[in-house]
């Protein structure tokens, strides 16, 4: 089980994953040895799985981001497997999520501009198998995006 120190360390590290051990030990008023042991344990127990980089696609020229909410034709028994395998083959798809609810799958699709998006949509997305319905949400702004867990 996690104690207060683990939680404090995780809260800090979520805000700044590159935070130096010395700063962590000062903030949590623990010794370096204790902090380093805790971090090692959080890793070995699989609580901390790793780190990832966050890419700002707009800086690479992809200024359009669309969320496609997709309902699949569930009379096809392989609908999910076929759809997901094909969606993984589209480079402009940067995120795939499956749901329990009104929507079955959501794809995050990026494109350079609206003309590029239209091309991706018409040539690649529409061709995905077993789609019953698609709704699009166009991203305007990210208000909060840190994805911090309230540990």
């Amino acid at each position: 089980m996690l104690d207060d120190l683990d939680r404090r360390l995780l809260r800090r590290l979520q805000l700044d994953p590159a935070m130096a051990m010395a700063d962590l030990s000062e903030i949590s008023s623990s010794t370096l040895a204790v902090v380093s042991r805790r971090l090692k344990r959080l890793r070995s127990e699989g609580v901390v799985l790793g780190k990832e980089i966050l890419i700002d696609w707009s800086k690479l020229g992809y200024s359009v981001e669309v969320s496609l909410r997709i309902t699949l034709d569930k009379t096809q028994s392989r609908a999910f497997d076929d759809f997901l395998a094909a969606a993984r083959g589209i480079p402009q798809v940067i995120e795939i999520q499956t749901f329990l609810g009104r929507v079955d799958v959501r794809l995050s699709v990026i494109a350079k501009d609206m003309a590029d998006y239209q091309k991706v949509y018409r040539e690649l997305i529409i061709a995905l198998p077993h789609i019953a319905d698609i709704q699009a949400l166009m991203h305007i702004a990210r208000i909060k995006s840190d994805e911090v867990l309230p540990v």
């Binding site: 996690l2 980089i53 480079p91 999520q97 990210r142 867990l149």
Partner: protein
């Protein structure tokens, strides 16, 4: 906009797969010197292409068994300041992301909860009571994968 060559994209691809890969290993894979790799990573960070790092945590091990995406439509938009809604919704600790979107909803939220009962509490006490919150749709996340993108 700055230009990036295929080595930058290859570097981003490798870092998306493993953000903790050492500069030495990256240098070897890309056939470059270690200082050259450092320079490129620093440039990508300074230009905001790599906008940050995120700690990958095992949500289940931290007690967050449920992730739900909410689509929220604001009601009677005229009287409600978007900023008020955004400020209030961003202050809810269980709300991990807030996106302003265009389409059948105005906002898309990612919410974590300990379980379904906990989610219901967050929905009723915190989300439904937000200034201007109208129609709400909930979809429970079953799986998610982040893809490397067009690199």
């Amino acid at each position: 906009m700055s230009t990036y060559d295929e080595i930058d994209f290859a570097l981003l691809g490798l870092l998306s797969k493993d953000a903790e890969k050492s500069a030495g290993a990256l240098a070897q894979q890309l056939g470059m010197s270690q200082p050259a790799i450092w320079r490129r990573i620093r440039r990508l960070e300074e230009n905001g292409v790599i906008k940050g790092h995120r700690l990958i945590l095992d949500r289940e091990k931290l007690g967050f068994g449920v992730t739900v995406f909410l689509g929220i439509k604001l009601s009677g938009k005229k009287g409600v300041q978007l900023e008020d809604f955004e400020r209030a919704v961003s202050a809810i600790p269980e709300v991990q992301t807030v996106e302003h979107v265009l389409g059948m909803y105005d906002y898309r939220l990612r919410v974590v909860a300990r379980n379904i009962a906990d989610f219901e509490r967050i929905l009723r006490r915190r989300v439904m009571t937000l200034p201007g919150a109208g129609d709400v749709e909930a979809n429970v996340l079953l799986s998610e994968e982040r893809r490397p993108g067009p690199i």
